[in-house]
């Protein structure tokens, strides 16, 4: 994303709406400027702000007058008065920032918007997590911190070393050069993104082991981690398998998303449900 200096009037509205705090008023040129290294190309500024198309010279003159008389300028806070934001044509590897940051862009690997994952949301039609299995979503950078891929790689390598399989239909998995080692392709390791979800599944018996592994790796990564655990309910709609493990480890989950099981396969030639994972020791 770039801000056209010929249009920008340095009102400062955009400095607050950037989730990464990557926009600032450059004191030399007196225009809003994007710190390209910190910008994750989420397009929150471009898509989220309303746009006016006022004359920049007129707005700057008005602002100077207000400033001279120490009058507080109090416009709507979610508006760019001169439509100064201009998306750029992103090329590899920078384009990967947008893929993992702008939720309106579907991930090519999965066709899903947002973070590109389905998890247990579609478990009723995919059978992704079966009885006796536990699905993990380990999300890095959320909320509002961001992450670079070399931090995520610490987790994928640790998981791969433990012989854990990665969900195949997951955007991060598609960036692994070797699922047996968990290495992520080298040309994107320094790219910063809003967040990414590593998806795995293990037998219930390994739940505690994986959680303890996540705890260890979390100490080494310079961002926040949002951990989610998905389980298939039994025939009476109850989960009596995972919840007790979480309780024992000191977790007291407050919130969950519940798949109601109303989905069904309706495509004419649908793929048969089955394991969709890749990893070291299948």
């Amino acid at each position: 994303m770039r801000i056209n200096p010929n249009k920008c009037v340095a009102c400062g509205n955009c400095t607050y709406v950037c989730p990464m705090g990557a926009i600032y008023i450059d004191p030399v040129i007196k225009r809003a400027t994007v710190n390209r290294d910190e910008c994750v190309e989420c397009y929150a500024c471009f898509h989220g702000m309303s746009q006016e198309h006022l004359n920049p010279t007129m707005v700057r003159t008005m602002r100077r007058i207000f400033q001279f008389f120490r009058l507080r300028f109090d416009p709507e806070p979610d508006v760019c008065p001169t439509a100064a934001f201009e998306p750029e044509d992103l090329v590899w590897p920078r384009v990967v920032r947008r893929a993992f940051s702008d939720p309106r862009v579907p991930h090519e690997s999965t066709g899903v918007e947002g973070r590109g994952t389905e998890e247990v949301k579609t478990n009723d039609v995919t059978g992704r997590v079966g009885e006796g299995e536990v699905g993990f979503t380990i999300e890095f950078g959320r909320p509002g911190v961001g992450v670079r891929f070399h931090e995520i790689q610490k987790m994928t390598m640790a998981l791969a070393a433990a012989g854990i399989v990665f969900e195949k239909k997951n955007p991060v998995t598609t960036l692994l050069t070797d699922v047996a080692t968990g290495e992520i392709r080298g040309d994107i390791l320094d790219e910063k993104i809003m967040s990414a979800i590593v998806e795995i599944k293990v037998p219930v018996a390994r739940t505690e082991e994986v959680i303890r592994m996540v705890w260890e790796v979390e100490k080494q990564v310079d961002t926040v981690v949002s951990l989610g655990i998905g389980a298939r309910c039994d025939s009476s709609g109850e989960d009596n398998v995972v919840a007790p493990v979480l309780e024992r480890l000191g977790y007291h989950p407050q919130r969950a998303k519940t798949n109601t099981g109303l989905g069904r396969v309706t495509n004419v030639a649908a793929e048969a449900p089955g394991r969709e994972s890749v990893g070291a020791r299948q």
């Binding site: 998890e119 949301k121 039609v125 981690v225 989950p253 969950a256 798949n259 109303l262």
Partner: protein, 225 residues
């Protein structure tokens, strides 16, 4: 739509937050899903949702690409549910947000009876979801628990800001904007209703809950963090 899962707060704080969403799966049931997704949204309207949205175009309050300057004084803050329904143009995730359990329960019953064939999830407190499923005569198929935030949590903002900004799990609502709106409400520069509208326009899939956000902002006006 993990973006509805990791909302900050305890179970009690989700008493006015019920997100019901429908999603299709590529290769399984996306063929002909568009009219069924639209039907899902249409069915939600009679139950007085506080937001509707789709993952490609956003929620019921959207930014303007060509705003008239007079809007600074007379800005339309009315959610436009019909625009969400009409704007749906491809299979994606669609969501309806309710501020009370009864509405969510009744909507879930209607969705079950409609038999859309889509995966339907409810995101709220664990007990709240169980009660909704029970009332709708549904046995839970799967459950995805949020275990909260870990790692370098010292990088996170205070709990009031966190409660507001995590209502867009995609991270489109900046912590700095949430803080600014809390401050503006404290200063009396904007009402909680106005502040919530600014925030809602940044949510790119329409799962932001303006009623819960208003309550948090009102609460933040009086309380320290």
């Amino acid at each position: 739509m993990t973006n509805t899962l990791h909302r900050y707060g305890d179970a009690e704080s989700f008493r006015d937050d019920y997100v019901v969403f429908a999603i299709c799966s590529r290769g399984k049931n996306e063929q002909g899903a568009l009219p069924r997704l639209r039907r899902f949204l249409e069915m939600a309207v009679p139950f007085a949702p506080v937001n509707l949205g789709d993952a490609r175009h956003g929620g019921a309050l959207r930014p303007s690409r060509s705003m008239n300057p007079t809007a600074h004084w007379h800005r339309d803050q009315t959610p436009d549910f019909q625009a969400v329904i009409d704007g749906l143009d491809a299979p994606t995730t669609v969501a309806a947000v309710f501020d009370n359990r009864v509405a969510a329960e009744d909507f879930l019953k209607t969705v079950r009876e409609a038999d859309l064939g889509l995966s339907v999830n409810i995101s709220t407190s664990i007990d709240g979801a169980e009660q909704c499923c029970f009332a709708a005569g549904i046995l839970r198929h799967s459950v995805g628990y949020s275990l909260g935030f870990e790692g370098k949590t010292e990088k996170l903002p205070n709990t009031q800001v966190l409660s507001v900004m995590t209502m867009c799990g995609h991270g489109m609502i900046a912590g700095s904007l949430a803080k600014k709106m809390i401050d503006w409400v404290k200063e009396g520069r904007r009402t909680p209703e106005q502040a919530v509208c600014y925030l809602a326009r940044f949510c790119s899939c329409g799962v932001f809950n303006p009623v819960r956000a208003r309550r948090i902002l009102e609460d933040a006006r009086h309380r320290t963090r």
